[in-house]
């Protein structure tokens, strides 16, 4: 793996340029861990069904000589952008001059991570950056940490509810070389504030891309957060996307992950419920075609009592695609009166598709109500018959039923422009055979 030498060189260059500070220390830490652990293989329980090491056969370039224009950005804007704060990332780096911040600085602060780590947010960054490594302690996560550079810090100020949502556009430039991006963000949703965050991913060009993302979110007392992830990239665009949300005050979090296209896509969605009375809703939808491989790992760690969580992940696997779901609920000894529900429903459409699912409950407290369920099956024959009997051709009937299957999740996207956008994407995705 000649990538290792490449990473070593890049890492040393980066450290030389910015040798001091919290972030440099973290990077050092990360690189040591990466050198020690390496890239996970299927022997690692958490990566049993996803062969991420194959992605490292490519010789990637990190953010070199890449430039994009406003035209490129215009092409990928999400609906409702006129009302949104738009953050543009190119090959993992936050590009301020292409980004638009519409909210006032009394509501929302957006800073390059390095700047935040030095200035008045020094302590906050030091306290919260890389907390995710306690949960994601594999080589992939360590690799991201080794290259924390050009990330972003977003702070929703105490008591503020910015009317403009935040959109993050991740652009990977694979026009010349295979591109590797390792964006890192830290989001702080302060007390009694509100944030709506959406992320989307686009690869330019035809070469392979690999987006190894880590986003850490801290949600404080009385705060409210919605998080949407829309993955509809090229078939050779790969991704390991780790979202680590810590609810450290009694708060509400609602997330929806939509995966339509991509190469190998791995989503880690971690929720650490570190305050009594937290409420969390996780939704996910994966509609896979071609050779796509989507792996959704969720973790809900209940540390404190009286938390409620609900998870619903649904998926359809067609062609030679593979869908993986691994949902883990942990209830620690203090977390009495936890209510945790999880459901995973899958439809297999092709002889050559695979679905692997593994719901996990680990419970160390007694006064809890936890349940999980999962199903793998086909379209309901009676429903098909009903539609066909009414003169609807088989193909259309199938699309109709699949759309209905997906609707449970799509309906969870609260902002209207995004919901109809996703719903349209899904229709197109299903209708094109």
């Amino acid at each position: 793996m000649n990538n290792i030498t490449y990473f070593k060189d890049q890492f040393e260059q980066l450290q030389e340029a910015n040798p001091k500070g919290t972030i440099a220390d973290l990077r050092k830490h990360g690189f040591d861990a990466f050198t020690k652990d390496g890239v996970p293989t299927y022997r690692d329980e958490d990566w049993k069904y996803t062969n991420v090491s194959s992605l490292f056969d490519k010789e990637y370039q990190m953010a070199e000589n890449s430039e994009i224009t406003l035209t490129d950005v215009n092409a990928i804007r999400l609906p409702g952008y006129k009302q949104a704060n738009e953050l543009v990332f190119l090959n993992g780096r936050f590009i301020p001059n292409l980004s638009t911040i519409r909210s006032g600085s009394t509501d929302l602060i957006v800073l390059p991570l390095e700047e935040a780590a030095k200035g008045e947010y020094k302590d906050i960054v030091a306290a919260h950056l890389n907390q995710s490594s306690n949960y994601l302690n594999d080589g992939i996560h360590a690799l991201n940490t080794s290259f924390i550079d050009g990330g972003v810090f977003v702070h929703v100020l105490k008591g503020k509810e910015p009317e403009h949502p935040v959109y993050c556009y991740h652009i990977l430039d694979a026009r010349q070389n295979p591109a590797l991006a390792q964006p890192r963000s830290l989001i702080l949703v302060d007390e009694s504030s509100k944030l709506q965050l959406t992320e989307s991913y686009t690869t330019l060009g035809t070469e392979d891309s690999f987006n190894n993302q880590v986003i850490e979110v801290v949600v404080k007392e009385n705060a409210y957060m919605e998080y949407y992830k829309i993955q509809n990239d090229a078939a050779n665009a790969n991704q390991v996307s780790s979202t680590h949300i810590r609810q450290i005050g009694r708060s509400y979090v609602h997330t929806v992950t939509i995966t339509l296209n991509g190469g190998i896509v791995r989503n880690n969605m971690n929720l650490v419920l570190d305050a009594a009375g937290n409420e969390t809703h996780l939704y996910g939808l994966y509609l896979l075609k071609g050779k796509s491989h989507a792996d959704n790992h969720t973790l809900i760690d209940n540390l404190k009592p009286n938390c409620f969580s609900n998870q619903l992940y649904k998926g359809i696997a067609d062609d030679t695609s593979t869908a993986v779901f691994n949902g883990r609920i942990m209830v620690q000894p203090d977390a009495q009166k936890t209510n945790a529900y999880q459901s995973n429903k899958n439809i297999l459409l092709s002889e050559n598709a695979t679905i692997n699912t593994k719901p996990q409950l680990e419970i160390f407290a007694d006064d809890v109500k936890c349940s999980h369920g999962c199903t793998i099956g086909q379209l309901d024959e009676e429903a098909m018959f009903y539609l066909k009997a009414r003169g609807i051709p088989k193909e259309s009937a199938e699309v109709l039923l699949l759309q209905a299957f997906a609707a449970d999740i799509v309906d969870q996207i609260k902002p209207e422009p995004l919901r109809s956008y996703v719903s349209k994407l899904i229709y197109e995705h299903l209708a094109i055979q």
């Binding site: 092709s350 002889e351 598709a353 679905i355 593994k358 419970i363 007694d366 006064d367 199903t375 099956g377």
Partner: protein
Amino acid sequence: MKEKPDTLEQAVLTEYKYGFVTDIDTDVIAKGLSENTIRLISSKKNEPEWMLDWRLKAYNHWLKLEEPKWSNVKYPIINYQDIIYYAAPKPKKQLNSLDEADPELLATFEKLGISLNEQKRLTGVAVDVVMDSVSIATSFKEQLSEIGVIFCSISEAIQLHPELVKKYLGSVVPMTDNYFAALNSAVFTDGSFCFIPKGVRCPMELSTYFRINTENAGQFERTLIIAEDESYVSYLEGCTAPMRDENQLHAAVVELVAHTKAEIKYSTVQNWYPGDKNGLGGIYNFVTKRGMCKGDHSKISWTQVETGSAITWKYPSVILKGDHSIGEFYSVAFTNNHQQADTGTKMIHLGKNTRSRIVSKGISAGHSQNSYRGLVRASKQATNARNYSQCDSLLLGDKCGAHTFPYIEVKNKTAIVEHEATTSKIGEDQLFYCKQRGIDAETAVALIVNGFAKEVMNQLPMEFAVEAQKLLAISMEGSVG
């Protein structure tokens, strides 16, 4: 639930009822494991050359393996050189009937409540008793042999039916299968062998009773059951061990082979010594159990009630190879004090129209950890495979844990797989209902737990079900409050 601290305290102190040591002369070899140990075991058992070769091959493979670490149990490192690999009660002569057995031994079984004589008379169960490592007596052998059923110890089978043993031994659980299976293949000392010929419906329940008696002895028994076309057998297995401070190792292998239209029903009541209330001592129970539905329309059903052992680590599995074959797994695992159980099943669907059903009930109390770990795999050629799994956990106390790790892998678009799991504590309203009717807390909990486990208990043969229910009640004593 705290109104009767005295009785509860007493109940907590209830000791392991089967913790007595039988004072019988035992033929024991020195501790330790090496090629010589294996040669010694083999020669003591007067085994043919091929058997010794097989053992040595397994031993050499075992040396290359590492002890698996993935399970959800914690235990100190096992020193495999500190175990006695062969302990046989003396005198070791062939017995034709129970009357010839050592009276001391018979008394042991009487204490266990599994009086052979009684069982013989009342239920007509044929029992193969395995103490430490060697099969003591097999009752009803003659009656069985009249209809062609072979039921004997595996050592006897090696002597008398080598062609059958050669053909089937290791065919379901190869010696290379896993660490403990390899160890067992190398050093197994006895176990049961059962062969049901074509078209025979075994007229009685076959039963084995295992007991570890010698200190520091490991028990490595090997069971092989073969059901030929259109035959049926129901097999019971019970286990106990006396109370010991040290941990004893039990690494058994059970292989079942069901041919076309054959059915094997395998029931286990496992009550090895679980260790005392501080987690001292107890049996490490690392067992590999697997059945192969080889022929079409065959059926294998595992039922287990696990109340004992400091550590239980076993996954009775079914490979559904024949078309239309059926695999079933019913389990109640109860853990108390510092017991740890990591148990479940694997259902591997290979044939068409195969069906499997998993019902697992875990009950944890005290400081115990109880995990369900299961795999359901529908392979590409398993058209119309159908699985339903249900795993429920009940928590009695706030220091225990209940975990579920189901793996589901589906590669066929006509397969339908369902899994559901719940974890909760005993409902306050259910308890209230009972208490209101004058039933005290402990009895009420026992009642509710029995109801919780009923779906599995119903699968057990009648006389076993009664015993299992009693066992559950004993294990549960002191866990309420």
